[in-house]
Amino acid sequence: MAGDSAASAPGRSGTRPERPVGRQGADPGRGRLFEGGLLQGGVQGSPVLRLFMRWVRRPLLPVMRLWRRNIQLRVVATTLLMSLGVVLLLGFVVIGQVRNGLLDAKVKASQSQATGGFAVAKQKADDEAASGGAGGATGSGDAAADADGRQSQSVIQWMSDLVESLSSGGAGAFDVVTLPVGDDSGGGRSPRGSGNVSPTDSVPGDLRERISDSTTAAQSYTRIVYKDGKESQPALVIGKQVNDPNGHPYELYYLFPLTQEEKSLSLVKGTLATAGLFVVVLLGAIAWLVVRQVVTPVRMAAGIAERLSAGRLQERMKVTGEDDIARLGEAFNKMAQNLQVKIQQLEDLSRMQRRFVSDVSHELRTPLTTVRMAADVIHEAREDFDPVTARSAELLADQLDRFESLLADLLEISRFDAGAAALEAEPIDLREVVRRVVGGAAPLAERKGSRVRIVGDQQPVVAEADARRVERVLRNLVVNAVEHGEGKDVVVKLAAAGGAVAVAVRDYGVGLKPGEATRVFSRFWRADPARARTTGGTGLGLSIALEDARLHGGWLQAWGEPGGGSQFRLTLPRTADEPLRGSPIPLEPKDSRRNRGLAAAGPARGGEEKRATVPVQPGGGQAPPLPAHAAIAPHLASVTPAVDPSALPGSGARVVPRPTGGTRHPGEPPAHGPGTDTYDARPDADGRKDPSEPGEAFRGR
């Protein structure tokens, strides 16, 4: 572990990279589409609408999640949709073809039938006209002789007979209708129809117009309406204008019901629908099966990869056959094998190293103990020595102390590095720990002239934690705060909320420069090289504290502003193994100069506070500690010049736009913006170059 990477180490292997709280779905493509569109509620309008959208969205969310995560579902659904489309298209084409074919045949047969019928009607009229005159002459003696008599020849019965004889040939295959030429009651004729057909309703008006205007036959499609309540049905109608025995024209229509054709068509439809349904269902099933064949090994690989990453290195895929899947499995197994070997090697190495460290410690400690005891004895007896020797004895004892603590810290950190640190968590009340720590730090504080106050200890703050480690962390923080507090008060704040507990140690000393918030956790890092040695300390305290926090699954984070003091916050999950989602205490204290300035400027930017309470967890990347911010920062920098360029990638510091919004370069003296007026009254006495930018760091697991 080098340099800055002490901050924000990756999450424990095996768990997914943390996602930003409050935002589900890491998939940047489709996920954003859904979320940005329907799911995220792109509707910014009325609250009612938004409520409705939420109500609609809620039951859909699991489905959407399943959709996003299940490739099998996607493939099957797509197959179903596409095959449905194909089947529909095919069905329409086939039905259209069949319909045309059926109609063609029907039309041909009907036309020949109707043409024959028209000829018969004409023939009968001619015959009747010929014989009617003669018959009339013999039958009804007086009337037939003159022209009028012939004209008024009774065609009522004749026409009914004609319709009957024409329709009786059809036996239900068609119906015959006569209509007078012109309107319905033209010439005193009544319409006639066989088979209960309603003549005027069944023959379309435009066909009638055509027939009455010309003497050629014409056809059309219509719907036969029946008088006796029978259901109407589609039909082909062919009509022609024919003369009756008296030479008066009338319209003769043949109506061919398309019942059979419709039945055939519906049979075809039914067949196609059934077949289509089967095809769609079967295709779906086939797709499901096929995808399953592919997906099952993939899922198995995923599961085994997960188990591998969880540390069960002996897991292997089952490989059968020689296909691509088998090759995948083989490659996978080979990879796992290599991984296992490598990890084995590493583990061996690590074990060796631990062993070495342990041995070294023993070997080193035993003589050190002797030396220490000897030095103590000498130190006890220094009053009997000459001043030079006495001073030497004092130095010897002091430096032995330092050597000892350095050695202890080194060993501790090497234990962390070797992964040998074990957590012994049990429920503890952090107030006890804090009181102990504060009590322990009291002499130092007294010496420094500062007071350590505890805030938020009215209620128990219980968490599952390793008391020894937590105490070590807090002792470190409190001692640091007292030492850098410049005699001002140190506030230790406790809080618990939402599955997390936090202890924040706030001082009002020199604070931290931008970027330092990250670096404080680096090993052997010192804020002020010129000063540090005087206060002692090994330079490893915060590193160990960070490791301790991380061991708990907690966070240790630092915030500071130059001249405004700093705050270190330890956040621990209330129960071990529970991932942290936020901290009960904001990282940037309320009494930071920036916040106070904001409060003075107006309540407009309340969101800032909230943002701090929900620290963004780093993504999976190892190298840049805060990839999310790192990625956004340059973008922001290029777009909004309000951002301090010193907070660019690598600094790890949270980018905080300046409240004034003016552009400033590092090294430039503070502008005379309105922001400066709102700052704390205390001027930056030590003349730092960048006095007003608060630094903030997010530290954690």
Binding site: S140, A143, S154, P191, R192, S194
Partner: protein, 610 residues
Amino acid sequence: MGVDREGGVRHRSGRAVVFAACGVVLLAGCASMPDSGDLRNVESTPRQDTGVRVFAMPPAEDAEPSEIMQGFLEALTSDDPQYDTARKYLTADAARVWRPERSATVLANGPSVVPDREPAGRETTGSLSYVLTGSRVATVDAQQAYAPADGPFRKKVHLTKDAKSGQWRIDSLPQGVVMGKTDFQRNYMSVNKYYFASGPTVGTTGQPVAVADPVFVRSKVDAMTQVVRSLLSGPTHWLGPVVRSSFPTGTALQKGVSGLTPDDRNTLTVPLNADASRVGQAKCTEMATQLLFTLRNLTPTLDSVELQGPGGRLLCELNEQDAESAAWQASAQRPQNLYFLDGKHRLVRLSTGDPTPATLPVPGPLGEGAKELQSVAVSRDEHTVAGVGADGRSLYVTSLASGGSLGDPVVSSQGARPEDRLTRPSWDAAGDLWVADRNPDAQKLYVLKQGAGKPVQVTLPSLPGRIQDVRVAADGVRVAIVVEKDGKQSLLIGRIENEGKPGESPSVLDLHSAAPDLEQVTAMSWAGDSRLLVVGVEQGGVHQMRYVQVDGSTIDGPAPAALSGVKAIAAAEDDRVPLVACSEDGIVRLPSGAQWQKVDKDGTAPVYPG
């Protein structure tokens, strides 16, 4: 492990093969036409009615007088229930007076419209006359009774032009409707109303005997309601004196009832007015019987009728079986045996239900060939047989039981020639035996009550010729007589009135022709409640067999298959029983749906009981 899995795979593949085989078998079953399967009922789809309908149209604006006439006549042939459309061609006064239901005149070729020559011009006076002419075929009176008619038809129709609207309308016209013969056949149908014979009852059971009274109703205008109304209004004039109706006087359908139709259970509910609700259960059953008999020849599927009084009260209910026990109907009786004389003049019989008939000797003296016979008649209960000797001189009545003796002749004829002597005897349902003596000097019709006792002479009206054949109907109130004059025969139907007083002889009244178009009638037999089967010759035609209705109307439907040289025929009232004829080929019979079959080469005189 490897072995285990191997076995598992083999096991599984075996099962897969079995499944596949099952699937193939199933699919093969679906892919071929079935040759076995469940029993299912066949839904009866009524044959589509191809009948022609005329749709009456109201007169057009400014229609010509000739168009008014044409439209009016067309409207008369339409299905318009109350002729409302036809009335639109009339002036208001004429429409009020015109009674289309009064009569229907059937013309051979429909009415021809001839302008009546009047001295006045048409347009100027707004008045015009037309004459409807044609040759009359028949008339249907207000009681819907059909009567054949002939002669020319000529009726005047007068049109006026309405002063206000300027439209031509008919203001004077004959009552009733007029139409052509085929239109009449299309629009009207013959229905038998049933009443009970007022005199005779069935000898053994005492059941009343149902008598058919044919009427014509408009077939497409709520026929069932029409028939019910007609039935309730009583028998036709001709039949009236000899039948009774069980409906109390004044019985009618409740007001506003129309469109009677059987429900899903094939039950017809007939709501009657208060006059019908005061009858007893027995009377009510008779009423229902009349209704059921009547309506069953309109709707054969009808199973039962329910009579309802006012307020929906159920008077009585009657189903088919009840009706058959409540009254005796000839067409519901199925004769068990056909009787005829074999080559050795013995009376033999054969079962009608037997598809491969075998002749059986009849017990009794006639079956033993004790007497050579010319013709026989078996009583309807098949206990007694009457036979006319070979010379036609004497009539014997004897039992069909074995061991009886022939006895003495009960009637004897003194006719000179064999054809001047006794006719073939016939029995009615009451058990009376009827026989005529053809002696031209003393032409007589005898009836023997219960086939025994002293023959009673029946009073006959003056006949248009010599009696040639006599058949009494099963109901005993109608008789069919074939009369010959100048080598031409005609079929007459008469009513038998029995005054009921002891000693008073019955009489035959009101003879009318049942087949006016036949010139010769060689044989005849009752073949239904109001139907006869006749072998005869039409004017200018050849010998043929056909059915005639007792009222003289022609019958729709096919005639029996042609047969030459028919000397005698026998038909039962039940039309499911095969026709039997005596022809050149001996005795032949015609089972329904088949051709003539030979029964006995040498047989003669086939008869069904009756």
